[in-house]
């Protein structure tokens, strides 16, 4: 399998605080990768570097073989990188459907009925269809999380970055979320998923990377990684429910 994403020695520091330290890994096409690590380990920063919200101090990012390190966030999005935010960030003055349409038309480059049909399909998949005309700012937390998912799927991504999308959900909500993510993965989308809800993560990913202080400290098969002493140590104090 060719690699869809390649991080090559990424470094980033905010003053004296290092948030990415010589971070390298590859993601194969169609792979689902889980990222775990303590709070403040630099996981979300890594997403910001991949999507182009932040630029790295050193290192390179390749997407589908092309060096995108210097590309703008908008360009990377149109190339097929979409993300969801840990704290949902909808266009709060616009309806759910309009939020979806922005992603479908701008990121995926669709137009007219094609875009509308795609949005309706995704909204159906994420169980938001009946709230399509609700203004996004008035949604509940669960629905905002669904909207994050909806918007990133409407962008028709090749690579989907999920940032703690299961946090704060009830068990049954989590089950349906896992199913949605599995469906998306099965349709061929590569996924990187940052998650503290480890059992949800393990239900989907084929590989796990552990990050701490911006460094990759372990990588491999999920079961082995979770059982390793380093991870046990890091996760002391953090609920391990796997």
């Amino acid at each position: 399998m060719p690699s869809i994403l390649q991080l090559d020695g990424l470094g980033k520091a905010f003053g004296a605080v290092t948030v990415a330290d010589n971070l390298s890994y590859e993601l194969e096409e169609g792979e689902a990768l889980g990222i775990i690590g303590p709070n403040g380990a630099g996981k979300t920063t890594m997403f910001n570097l991949i999507t182009g919200t932040l630029s790295p101090d050193s290192g390179a990012i390749r997407f589908q073989g092309e060096d995108v390190t210097k590309h703008s966030a908008a360009r990377r999005c149109r190339a097929g990188i979409a993300r969801s935010f840990q704290v949902p960030q909808p266009f709060s003055g616009m309806t759910v459907f309009e939020n979806a349409m922005v992603a479908a038309t701008q990121a995926a480059g669709m137009s007219g009925h094609e875009a509308e049909r795609h949005c309706i399909e995704v909204l159906d998949q994420t169980a938001l269809l009946e709230k399509a005309n609700v203004v996004a700012g008035s949604l509940t937390l669960l629905d905002r999380k669904r909207l994050e998912m909806t918007r990133s799927l409407c962008a028709r991504p090749k690579l989907l970055l999920l940032d703690e999308i299961a946090g704060g959900l009830t068990d049954s909500e989590c089950v349906s979320l896992i199913q949605t993510i599995k469906d998306v993965h099965a349709s061929g989308v590569s996924i990187i998923w940052i998650e503290h809800v480890v059992h949800a993560l393990l239900a989907v990913v084929n590989r796990l990377i552990v990050i701490d202080f911006g460094r990759k400290i372990a990588e491999g098969d999920p079961k082995t990684i979770m059982a390793s002493p380093e991870v046990q140590e890091i996760y002391l104090g953090i609920e391990v429910d796997a």
């Binding site: 908008a74 999005c77 266009f91 003055g93 995926a108």
Partner: protein, 287 residues
């Protein structure tokens, strides 16, 4: 009847003020840019119209066919070339830069067209009028008002019914997220300024037909525009039209009481609204 007449004439005048204000409102709404040079850009459109009329012999209203695209192109270039660089967390740089632009424009007008007041001759339409129940309504003011309503309705349609409008609203709502959705905000801002100056082109031509203008005429137009936007409520286009009408009516009623009161009455109406409803009459409810 005199009073009814004053109110009707003021309402029609309000259409012109709403046209002054629409571009200002649009720019502020999309990119939080307060454009101090807006009045001078209106006057620029009037001078461009004058040039077109003089060189081609076209009727001033037909000159719009040329002036609208030229102003839109200027808007896009201005935004991409200069104004985008000033936008950020600090609101001071765009204020300073557009103020500088205002000074530059006024001096360019002075150099290019002298300080003499100019006016575009629109022929018979300027004095034509129709009688309606004892009122004499000028065709030009009626046309101006109709255009203002049409322009506001058109902008409203663009904002809420088209992909371009959705992009404007998305960028206005959250710039960072919009970029992560594939929107190039610099381009979107350029398009917003192009649209705003296309509207400004219409305002400038109608101004130049209605009254004489000179290189310093922009300042007062900027004030009227701001007042109409603020009376109506920021970010509400129909509110802007109402704001323009209130301003126009206040001015004609003021003039009715005493000719010297015309401008003052408009400003007093503005200050009154600002004191009673600081967010304007129809503030947009944020989600």
């Amino acid at each position: 009847m005199d009073w009814v007449n004053a109110i009707v004439q003021g309402t029609l005048l309000g259409g012109l003020y709403a046209l002054f204000a629409a571009g200002l409102s649009l720019i502020f709404g999309v990119m939080r840019l307060v454009n101090i040079a807006h009045g001078d850009l209106i006057v620029l459109a009037a001078y461009l119209g004058l040039t077109v009329v003089v060189t081609t012999g076209l009727h001033p209203l037909l000159a719009l066919i040329i002036v609208i695209p030229v102003m839109a192109a200027i808007g896009y270039a201005l935004q991409r070339g200069i104004l985008n660089q000033t936008l950020g967390d600090d609101i001071l740089p765009p204020l300073l830069v557009t103020f500088g632009l205002s000074v530059i424009l006024q001096n360019v007008f002075l150099e290019g067209y002298t300080a003499d007041p100019q006016k575009m001759d629109a022929g018979a339409i300027e004095t034509a009028s129709i009688s309606l129940g004892g009122l004499s309504l000028g065709i030009l003011p009626l046309l101006t008002f109709a255009i203002a309503v049409g322009v506001i309705a058109g902008l409203q349609f663009i904002f809420y019914r088209t992909p371009l409008g959705r992009s404007f609203r998305a960028v206005s709502d959250n710039q960072d997220i919009a970029q992560l959705m594939g929107l190039n905000k610099r381009h979107i801002f350029g398009l917003a300024m192009a649209l705003a100056l296309a509207v400004t082109a219409i305002a400038g031509i109608l101004l130049g037909i209605r009254t004489s203008f000179d290189p310093t005429a922009g300042g007062a137009r900027l004030i009227y525009g701001f007042e109409a936007v603020i009376i109506g409520g920021l970010g509400n286009l129909w509110g802007t039209l109402v704001g323009g009408v209130i301003l126009g009516v206040a001015q004609t009623i003021g003039a009715k009481i005493d000719p010297g009161w015309q401008l003052l009455a408009g400003h007093i109406a503005f200050l009154f609204v600002l004191a009673v409803r600081p967010n304007g009459l129809f503030p947009r409810v944020s989600g």
